[in-house]
Amino acid sequence: MVSELPVIWLQGSTCTGCSISLLNSASPSIKNILIDQVVPGTHVNLRFHATLMAGAGEQALEVIQDTLARDRGGYVLVAEGAIPTKSDGVYGSIGERGGRPFSMKERLEELAAGSLAVLSVGTCASFGGIPAAYPNPTECRPVKWVLDMAGINKPLINIPGCPPHPDWVVNTIASILLRGLPGPSELDDNLRPLAFYGKLVHENCPRRAYFDEFKFAKKPGDEGCLYELGCKGPITYADCPTRRWNNGTNWVIGAGAPCNGCTQPEFPDLTSPFYEKLPETVFPVPKAAGITPEERK
């Protein structure tokens, strides 16, 4: 007997990059996720995902209402995107109710209240991200903020990244299916799974040796650590250097570009300017072996 895990994927103030990243999942493939048993004995039943689903309009929204009625407390809500809250959320709506646009905020609250657990996928859903950047024109908030304000208390995991690596999303779901919801010791202070966000990019960076030797790239294409070109790896928690992206093809620093800190709550306002060196007050440069190259001479 195959058990079914109903999933509702709700998009708020988003660019759909998180969904496209999910499509890039390599092992399991997106086909495995949608069609097959993603872990033995369990099929993820992705009932609502506006970018992929066949149905449209009322018919599509009925899937949500039907899930709320039949599977209360039994489905996972994946929220992609931040939630616009200014002026009662008029800046973002999905469908109508009572003859007026039904705001993303209302829809999130209703769906979260009936869920088993909430996954905030991407930096916008987790921390506000790009649409919440200064001056935050639509007062975008993270999913958890909205739920806290509404007094909705559900198990919630943040899976940030702009976008998140598909493995982070898929393996968080697989882990829930295989081992249940993560315990407090498995998440960091920002509710990110330590399995993926436990170490700084800087700790595992293949260019780390250059940093320790004070060899810094001065322009793209140079050999050396990208610290002076604005790399935020020293303050960014993610396993990009070891996991790599797009089926292990490459990653940001592999392409000679600085990390912009996209998995962090500080992204983008406090991890930018993206191409300026981190202030040393944020990240004191340790002296390799206690001496600088100048001192060595």
Binding site: S13, S29, L46, A54, P84, C140, Y275
Partner: protein, 504 residues
Amino acid sequence: MSTIVIDPVTRIEGHLKIETVMEDGVVKETRSVGNLFRGLEVILKGRDPRDAQVITQRICGVCPQSHAVACSLALDSAFGIAGMIPNNARTIRNLIQGAHMVEDHILHFYHLAALDYVDIKAVEKYSGGDAALRSVRQFIEGAQLGPFMPRYEGDYRLPERISQQACAHYIEALEIRRTGEEMVSIFSGKIPHSVGIVPGGVTCTPTVDMITSFLWKLRKLQQFVNDIYLPDVLAVAGAYADYFEIGAGCQNYLSYGAYDLENGQADVTKRKRLFPQGVTSSELSVQPLDVSKISEEVTHSWYEDSPMPLHPSHGETMPRYGKEDAYSWVKAPRYDSKVYEVGPLARVAVAYAAGNPAIKSLVDSALKELGASPSALFSVMGRHLARAVSAKFIVDNLERWLLEIKPGEPTFVEYRLPDEGAGIGLTEAARGALGHWIEMKDKKISNYQCVVPTTWNASPRDKNGNPGPIEQAITGTRIRDRDNPFEIVRIVRSFDPCLACAIH
């Protein structure tokens, strides 16, 4: 009179509502309503201009590359280095954008559009040995059919065997489009939201192993486009030939052109490009593009009114929800005060009208196979066909460009950030003409405006009351079954709308 409201329109990017007023089974009036405003142009103000490359990609997670290109072109021109981009950098930008556009076209046809034409339930009766189709059959037997059910019913016309094959191709296309993304990643680090295209050039250091890896992924992509994508489009077009007759819309077409083919030309409106720049109509005579004729109107959009339509170089974004007579967050770009469609059809129509031999031969042979004339292009099926032709045209050029890369030669030109400047970046996203306009003061962004493909296509009415291209394409269409309004969603999806792009 009655209405049909579809909200959300699914299998597109973003939040779109379509409202129609019906009379005697025919759409009399249409409103295309963009439902999400984020305000990225507001957010960009006051920031380091170089950061626009990171932030504008977040306009769209489906086509971030095209924003990286448009932004970098705009910054190249604002920084005064547009004529100095090294050959390697120009080539690598083209490869990143090209691989991405081809996979994006495949994504659109198979994963966004195909379920309107292909019956996945046909696989229930599959008895062959294909492992993927057997797993789909098992999935159907499990009777938990999200996200493939519910759907509109009553107009799936492909023979059972063709439908089964198309379902197998849906799955294969998932793999192939991922391969396309891997090609992007080789030169651009990761995708979505890559990092490799920057003002001054690209960040990567090309090597022979990158070129070889790209080449063999390209071969797979090319084979899929030739052997599967194009034939599938022709098969669907054959079975739904009546869709060559509906959804024409405004029949004015605009393309900025894309894929720079020469170095040293600072002016983006004068560069030799793979896809030529220009405007045309269903008459197929081409005129040069005059950028000064572009303006954005907000009469029926939720923004503060301006005394006259504004050119994007001094455009404004001041949201005002609930404004009288406004009904969408999408602005209304117009060219010479007229309504223009952008997208693969516009790209192909401009190239065809300009006499591009490769495009002419691709289009003419496809039309010949279907027994159709060029006027059939201006339709729902014409858009799908033009998209496939666009994919083939690009994929056939990538290998030549790839082999032009010279490892060891420059990929980046150094520059000093000027105190002041203005720049324009014009290119084509998968969905059509994409323009970025930047103005900077004191080394900061003082204004940034984006006019994005779906801003054109999903635009609301303008000050003269002329509806936007999607609105015009739907109005006048007969809806056979109002509970299953296939015609409306097929018309909308033929434009491949992206609402996050349109409004940003």
